[in-house]
């Protein structure tokens, strides 16, 4: 006759259970030397490997360390000991371990009593066993007295923060100055205080039961739809980026110092990584899940370095097989050039017509040299000649280029930009000394710097305004910027401030006038103050005034579309086109700032040019534009590399990007964002040399390697293999295989994947997987013959911990309903 084994287990609500659960969930392969006390029962949860004598957790941990260290190995070792046993016989072993240079983590489970033998006080308590006042001995002081330099506190009831504390401690044991790290987990003995104690609120739970994904009789194998699947998803950075770059892959390659491969990958999407890496407002960084953790990745700086290190696109880009069709691109700015780049790579003949003496558009004629050095741009522009794109400079449509001359082309892409400067509609806007900021920048970039005078006022808060202000500062002027909205890249604004440029927030001009001493008098108004009704009213509405020798007006530009038939114009004065650049005329496409869709930024123009290239290719008989396939989830980006290879891993990343909540932040220690060195302001204001030196390759590699979460993309970190409670996940030939007959469907792998790369539906009901009863092992969780779990309300003390344990989301706070007593 078999008697039931009575395996002792922690009391319901015991903090030890929470600690061992978190310990085992964080480290699958660690060595867990244990000790003697209630917490010996951690062996039920797989987090106690040795039990020898009191204090042996520490001495054995030290021994394990030295034994492995002589073979050059250092597995994580986490010893557990209670406060009572530590006071009794732990300290001597700890001194020995510290003195002899052992490295391991000691987790002190401090419940302030000797629970196992009937609540005798420990020296920390301040009372002797017979109730007399004793000399209170502080645990922390004793631990520090043993020579411990790393002492942290953590609460196991918050599993993520506890995991983080343990991971930090293990990291310390591996650091150069590392040694023994001690983590104290402090909570009350629930049996001693007969409840949760003063600092924890009761949280009654219930198990949700409902239709199960599989019936108990089909335990043989889990239905495919309920199985976890390793499925790469689109990273939020890539989703947010208009250029269509595979940023996650860029980080992987940068982390491996494969700069050439990184550049090749970027050149598959656009020809300007070195340029974008300098001038882009980087919406990708704004979407980085790391942003709220410890600062977004320096994606922009890495793109720059990949472009700079990867040599010219001319080395990578290959002209596609000749399609026998040709396309005219009118406008050699970023939109037109991006279209030309992709069209040439798809095998179309491309002629670019540029009004200015050189191609480049805003990149060449407006963006200042200290942000985008001419040599960098020139190198990026080399690719067009290499791709066989015919460049016609000095050709302006409607002037020395007639429409009829475009008739020989199978399609025409209009990307003529927005060069017509808006004028301020205020009295005196035409007076001497007031000029367009864009004209000023163009003159500067043409090698004919205008004379500005000593005092310069800049009107506007966009990137052009900042460029104009910093250029004027480099000409020796004292510069003030008046703006209503600050839309420029924050780092540029900050750099301008350090260069001594003064910003006036929400101050707008109401009138200009010639000043008595020469120069211009600016009448200004706070944005909140009443606006003038007419010109005569302007002076009365001014709330302040200023004087300047020159005023640079940078309030944006409009497309100069005189060359077009009026019928094609959109109400906003831009060419009406759809998202793919298609106009009413099937042969005419348009994009960039000239079109109704607008570009706004260089990266927006690149996006427009790429879309137009694909639309033109489709029109000319190329592959159909499968727009939903090429569009990167819900973002603006289009990935040409998917069009090129529909079976690429990228093409399978269709699922929406993981949000920050899906990232297990506890696996990622906080590491500050890498910042590129800058030219000192006292130096930078005297010349037009590049201000931002960019990240060095070592710093960039470290940034990519240490900081990228690789959101949604499996990095083969093996955490899923480690956390699977039924050992159903195995790595075979570098690929994860999940055994449907052993997988219980517990969802733990999907919940624990640091980066949301495992897809699996959560049932939201108890599926009878048994994870909670085996790994958390609370006696108040009763598992029936059908495998389903229910709560034993007689013994449950409402600690609420099991809610964090059930990965299926089947244990939830108890819903108070009217019919429940």
């Amino acid at each position: 006759m078999a008697l039931p084994t009575r395996r002792p287990t922690f009391c319901p609500g015991c903090g030890h259970r929470a600690a061992f659960y978190a310990l085992r969930r964080t480290f699958a392969d660690a060595i867990f030397p244990g000790d003697i006390g209630c917490y010996t029962l951690g062996l039920n949860q797989g987090a106690v490997d040795t039990v020898h004598d009191m204090g042996a957790s520490i001495t054995m941990a030290a021994g394990f360390y030295h034994a492995y260290a002589q073979d050059g190995q250092q597995p994580p070792i986490i010893a557990t000991i209670g406060d009572g046993t530590f006071f009794h016989s732990g300290a001597a072993g700890l001194e020995n371990a510290v003195y002899n240079g052992a490295r391991f983590v000691l987790l002190v489970l401090d419940n302030g009593t000797t629970g196992m033998t009937g609540m005798q006080p420990t020296p920390e308590y301040g009372k002797t066993a017979d109730g007399h006042a004793g000399v209170k001995i502080e645990l922390e002081a004793l631990i520090r007295g043993c020579g411990i330099r790393y002492l942290a506190h953590a609460d196991p009831h918050d599993i993520p923060s506890f995991q983080r504390a343990l991971l930090d401690a293990v990291e310390f044991t591996h650091s150069d100055a590392g040694g023994v790290a001690v983590v104290i987990a402090r909570y009350v003995c629930v049996t001693q205080v007969k409840g949760l104690g003063p600092n924890r609120k009761p949280l009654a739970v219930e198990v949700v039961h409902g239709p199960r994904p599989r019936a108990p009789e089909t335990l043989a194998a889990l239905d495919a739809q309920w199985m976890p699947v390793h499925r790469d998803r689109l990273s939020p950075c890539a989703e947010a980026g208009p250029a269509g770059n595979d940023i996650e892959r860029l980080m992987t390659l940068a982390g491996q110092e494969q700069w050439r491969e990184a550049a090749a990958m970027l050149y598959a999407e656009h020809p300007f990584p070195s340029t974008l890496g300098r001038v882009c407002p980087h919406p990708c960084e704004s979407a980085c899940n790391r942003g709220a953790h410890d600062g977004a990745l320096a994606i922009n700086a890495l793109e720059r370095l990949a472009g700079d290190r990867g040599r010219s696109a001319a080395d990578f880009a290959v002209r596609g097989p000749d399609q026998g069709k040709c396309v005219a691109v009118v406008g050699g700015g970023p939109a037109g050039l991006a279209a030309a780049y992709h069209l040439a790579r798809l095998g179309y003949g491309v002629d670019v017509f540029e009004a200015q003496p050189e191609i480049g558009g805003m990149l060449r004629w407006a963006i200042t040299e200290y942000r985008l050095p001419p040599a960098v741009l020139a190198r990026e522009l080399e690719v067009f000649a290499a791709l066989g794109v015919t460049l016609h400079t000095g050709m302006r449509l409607g002037a020395n280029l007639a429409w009829a001359e475009l008739d020989r082309f199978d399609a025409v892409y209009l990307a003529t930009g927005a060069w017509k400067q808006r004028r301020l509609n205020v009295p005196g806007a035409e007076c001497a000394g007031v000029q367009s900021g864009l004209d000023y920048l163009k003159a500067m970039r043409s090698g004919t710097p205008p004379t500005l005078g000593r005092r310069v006022a800049v009107i506007g808060g966009g990137n052009t305004a900042i460029d104009a202000a910093r250029s004027a500062r480099r000409q020796g002027a004292a510069v003030e910027v008046f703006y209503d909205l600050l839309l420029a890249i924050p780092a540029e604004v900050e750099a301008a401030r350090t260069e001594g440029i003064v910003f006036h927030h929400e101050i707008v001009p109401v009138a200009f006038a010639a000043a008595a001493a020469g120069g211009v008098q600016l009448l200004l108004r706070e944005l909140a103050a009443p606006a003038p009704q007419d010109d005569a009213d302007a002076e009365r509405c001014a709330t302040q005034s200023s004087e300047a020798d020159s005023v640079l007006v940078c309030i944006g530009g409009d497309a100069d579309l005189d060359y077009l038939e009026a019928a094609d114009l959109a109400p906003n004065g831009r060419l009406a086109v759809d998202a793919w650049g298609r106009s009413r005329d099937a042969r005419i496409f348009a994009g960039g700032d000239a079109a109704s869709t607008g570009a706004g930024t260089v990266v927006g123009a690149i996006n427009a040019g790429k879309r137009a290239a694909l639309a033109i290719a489709e029109r000319l008989g190329g592959r159909p534009l499968a727009t939903p396939d090429l569009q990167l989830a819900n973002g603006p980006g289009i990935a040409v590399s998917i069009a090129a290879d529909a079976s690429s891993p990228r093409a399978r990343q269709g699922a929406p990007a993981p949000q920050a909540l899906e990232i297990r932040l506890q696996f990622f220690p906080k590491t500050p964002r890498a910042t590129a060195p800058q030219r000192a302001p006292e130096d930078s204001v005297w010349n037009f040399e590049e201000v931002n030196f960019g990240l060095g390759s070592a710093a960039a590699t470290a940034e990519a390697r240490a900081r990228c979460f690789h959101c949604g993309v499996c990095t083969h970190c093996d955490i899923c293999v480690d956390v699977c409670p039924s050992e159903a996940i195995a790595k075979v030939d570098g690929v994860y295989r999940i055994d449907a007959t052993t997988c219980t469907g517990c969802h733990v792998c999907a919940a624990e994947c640091p980066r949301g790369a495992i897809s699996m539906p959560a049932a939201g009901v108890c599926i009878g997987c048994g994870y909670c009863t085996t790994r958390f092992e609370c006696p108040s969780l009763l598992r029936g013959a059908d495998g389903l779990v229910s709560i034993d309300r007689r013994t449950c003390i409402d600690c609420g911990m099991c809610i964090q344990v059930c990965a299926q989301g089947a244990i939830r706070p108890r819903q108070e309903t009217a019919n429940r007593p």
Partner: protein, 187 residues
């Protein structure tokens, strides 16, 4: 008088309290007593047992085959501790008092036969049911003690049991504890 007894149960059932009552009874009669018990795991669902040696003994633990009395607060734990009971010694066989529904203490006929051949007298008492009826399952230990005290070979009298129980009980529990003894005796 010399008596060796085993009290067996599961953590939380009050094995240690029952042992405390025994030592109090012995103390009041000025008899030497050893009480040795499982610690710690008692509160965590494990098997718990107390060795009681009342009278002149030199060592604290009861040897297998030496116990005169087995109080089983749980019938599976009673099975586990059966080897401690002694075989028939002349007139005297050992006594086994078990908390179980009537006739259910040793459902396996082979076990019952073995006990019969050893001369062990088995008494079952559904102390759990009585305690539940009193709305307090924790009282099962005292119900079983009250029931056992009615046996002629119980080493102490019922009055001694009541006095000792009252002495070691907290003021709030005293009346309920004595009530439980009485209900056990009445079975």
């Amino acid at each position: 008088m010399k008596c060796q007894a085993i009290i067996a149960g599961v953590g939380g059932q009050g094995v240690l309290f029952a042992a405390k009552v025994f030592t109090e009874m012995a103390r009041r009669r000025q008899l030497p007593v050893f009480g040795s018990q499982t610690f710690g795991m008692a509160q965590r669902g494990g098997s718990v047992m107390t060795h009681l040696k009342i009278g002149e003994f030199n060592s604290p633990l009861v040897c297998e085959g030496d116990a005169d009395l087995l109080l089983g607060l749980d019938f599976t734990e009673a099975h586990r501790t059966l080897p401690y009971l002694h075989e028939q010694r002349g007139e005297r066989g050992a006594v086994c008092v078990v908390n179980a529904p009537a006739g259910q203490a040793f459902p396996d006929s082979r076990v019952a036969a073995l006990l019969g051949s050893m001369g062990v007298t088995v008494h079952t008492c559904d102390a759990d049911a009585v305690a539940l009826a009193m709305n307090n399952p924790l009282l099962a230990n005292l119900v079983l003690l009250g029931f056992g005290a009615a046996h002629e070979r119980f080493p102490f009298t019922y009055d001694e049991l009541c006095t000792a129980t009252a002495a070691v009980s907290g003021a709030l529990r005293r009346d309920a504890n004595l009530d439980a003894l009485e209900r056990g005796r009445a079975l």
